[in-house]
Amino acid sequence: MNFVALKMLVSDRAKYFSLIFAIAFASFLLANQISIFIGIMARPSSQVQDVVDADIWVMDPQTLYDGEVYSLRDYDLYRVRSVPGVEWAVPLYKGLGRAKGPDGKFRTVILLGVNDATLVGAPRKMLLGSIYDLDRPDAAIIDNAGFQYFFPGEPLQVAKTLEMNERRVLIVGISDASAPFQSFPVLHTRYSQALGFVGRERNLLSFVLAKPAAGMTVAEVCRRIEAATGLKARSTAEFSWDAFLFYIRNTGIPVNFGITVMIALIVGTVIPGQTFYIFTVENLKQFGALKAIGVTNRRIVGMILLQAIVVGGTGYALGMGITAAFFARTVNYLPTRGIVFPWQVMAGIAVVVLFVVGLASLISIRRVLVLEPAVVFRG
């Protein structure tokens, strides 16, 4: 009877396509908005996640996220190093500076000062040059988006210069740093040099990056650092979440995206649900005839579920295809770089679509199950 169900479904082309497009549109909207939301909300922690050498971030106890920092004192680095279980600890500066291009165009930049000796915290994804060139005087590595901003239309190249705090900044490399939330250019330099680029501040030590000794867990070492120094110690994952939650709690982003997602969910449930229900109601007489000639309720439920699965599956596949095409177009565009379509979103939307078509078919099934087959004798 499956082919009967499928033919009943596709025979009314207008309804069939409106069902599919409603689901496709809803799943596209959901997948698109959720993916963009995740992509944007990953940006506040992008500089934290780009540091792959260290597992532990130590900071002032009142620090909420990496975007707003109250500097530590220099001796805090040694206090952290002295905690049992710490394999090594190095300083990291993170702050904002202003860089000016050769044509006078200036912009606020995120400046990261990495440990001079070990270069822990330096970018690992380089498009041009090497992190070891940071040893050179006035050297800095700029990210791709920053280079495009200061030198629009020029091919990627080193040895270009910027000016920060009336000092020359020599570009020795171009990194593929993750996009920051504010879309500022990202510059990496040596810790000792960062002070010169940002001007006089009494304390420069934004963070201490640490590594647990072999056999020690990150959580245990964090606990020990906090107990021994009174500072705050977070794992990379925890600190990334801190940034994510800070933006969730302190910006309108989740509300705006939440509204869009809710609208997509409501539209995606109501329109296909209603259309599918009407489709079933219009076929009630035929279902009644099938019941009269001896098709069991179970078989009819199977037919309706098959119709729902075909509609839901086709609409979902179409929606995911459109979403994938959308992100394929935008992933290499600088302002939207890093915003991708995670497979988890795709799986989540599958569950949502399953719920939507399940709900729609449940209402339809109920109507068919209570249908008296004697209805076929009514003209």
């Binding site: 009644g288 004697a374 076929v376 004798f377």
Partner: protein, 248 residues
């Protein structure tokens, strides 16, 4: 009770819809015997209970009281599942509005009765083509119902009712949507193909033009059989049973 040669036996069957003040007595003590090998018509004005009686006989509705035996089975004693299987195996339906599935071709519509019984699609369609051939509409096998005339649609519906070789065929106003000539042709075909010694046919109708095709006519009014006539071969219908509703 002996049921040899009897397709349907009913004694004092009633059907009541609703409760209290809104109660409707659709059937009021139906006594009826329908023999195998015969075509019985249930006739009467609208609201007389013809269709309700047909629904009760086919197990689509439960009788409220009384004794009913259909092809040796008591529908009241069957579970819902057993009743569905009983209908699928033993009953063929011809509806007033044909009730063909618009999305299926004529031959696929015919095959549905077999598909419901688990027959493979290819086999069912091949058998459907044979039946359309018998009923003279093989050339329309791959047409959709919307492309068929009323007479053709009713022939397809008849093929669907016959294809699984049921022992009881029921028709609800099978000619009411057809013009006189087409209705006559459909009844001739029904009579020729459906009536067999091991099978009974029950037709609900108020189309007097087809009364001649009946072996037995049960006249109904107000939920009762008010008269029962038998058709002597090629002769006039003879009233063999009559009861006045006023007398009850």
């Amino acid at each position: 009770m002996a049921t040899d040669g009897i397709a349907v036996f009913s004694r004092d069957v009633t059907k009541v819809f609703g409760r209290g003040e809104t109660q409707v007595h659709a059937l009021r003590g139906i006594d009826l015997k329908i023999r195998l090998g015969e075509l019985t018509m249930l006739v009467g004005p609208s609201g007389s209970g013809k269709t309700t009686l047909l629904s009760v006989i086919t197990g689509l509705l439960d009788a409220t009281s009384g004794e009913l035996v259909v092809l040796g089975q008591r529908p009241a004693e069957l579970s819902q599942e057993e009743l569905i299987l009983f209908r699928r195996k033993n009953l063929g339906f011809v509806f007033q509005q044909y009730n063909l599935i618009p999305a299926l071709t004529a031959v696929e519509n015919v095959a549905v009765s077999l598909l419901a019984g688990g027959v493979k699609r290819r086999q069912a369609v091949a058998r459907g083509e044979e039946f359309l051939e018998i009923l003279g509409v093989a050339h329309r096998a791959h047409a959709l119902p919307s492309e068929l005339s009323g007479g053709e649609q009713q022939r397809v519906a008849l093929a669907r009712a016959l294809i699984h070789e049921p022992r009881l065929i029921v028709g609800d106003e099978p000619t009411s949507a057809l013009d006189g000539q087409t209705g006559h042709a459909v009844m001739e075909l029904l009579r020729a193909t459906a009536v067999r010694p091991d099978r009974a046919v029950i037709i609900v109708t108020h189309d007097a033009r087809i009364f001649d095709f009946a072996d037995q006519i049960a006249h109904m009014d107000d939920g009762q059989i008010v008269s029962l006539e038998e058709n002597r071969k090629n002769g006039a219908l003879t009233n063999v049973f009559a009861t006045a509703s006023a007398a009850s």
